[in-house]
Symmetry: C2
Subunit: 159 residues, 2 copies
Amino acid sequence: MSYPLFIKMALDSWYSKIRDTNKLLEKISDDQLAQEVAPGRNRGTYLLGHLLAVNDKMLTLLNLGERIYPELDDIYLDNPDRTKAEKNTAAELRQKWHEINAILADHFDKLSPEEWLQKHMAVSTEDFEKEPHRNRLNVLLNRTNHLSYHQGQLAFLKP
Amino acid sequence: MSYPLFIKMALDSWYSKIRDTNKLLEKISDDQLAQEVAPGRNRGTYLLGHLLAVNDKMLTLLNLGERIYPELDDIYLDNPDRTKAEKNTAAELRQKWHEINAILADHFDKLSPEEWLQKHMAVSTEDFEKEPHRNRLNVLLNRTNHLSYHQGQLAFLKP
């Protein structure tokens, strides 16, 4: 699809951060990923699970379909690190991370420019009429920043 | 100025991260800012000087005017932390950070939507014809991600 300039810019920015994060993850072993990124801070596995859950949640927030891994929220979104029993190995988290990003990319490829500018699911129709910037594309911009934020922290696990 | 939707979204995203970073900096004392954000990693003062130099550099990259603090590059951009003698206290870095952001905001307020979509200074006219996404607004998106990345690291200094 040939996108209008600004949709291309937002998507380029998203995919660029996904690529950067993947490159970083390749340099970190599973054992390293299980370490705290800084003393007393979240472990790498928690941050990866957190990013994975946030991306999975974009499926419903952007009204693209059902979530794949809603069970991740309890461990990686709604509770702090090390308070809930983990059900995924580092390798499983990596695999799911790539899987959810591929699913998102498939959906993104099919969205028309008009659909990118439609409201997301966390804003009411009334509010959206007054605040048309609360659209799907804005979620993508915010999630790109969120990914950058935690990528900066994961970088400390790099040997 | 009433901006087209996407320019408003990109500017909102930028100012939101600047505000978040300022809120974070208020919670960190000058002494804390002088600490490494994680063992063996950059100190908070280096990261703040780095973000400050990057923002200052946006003046020339976006063709908005002369730089205010080009002397920061040698310490905070071109060399690793603790290799060059620092010339600014934490308090001075904070003051310059707010100053440069106010100067950028003044310039941003005056840019028309068409001007936001003009090429930045690091791309040639020929390349820009083929790659029109390499415009001023794209620099703003990238710098917002860059700020998010280091904000995630500075957050570790919060007591």
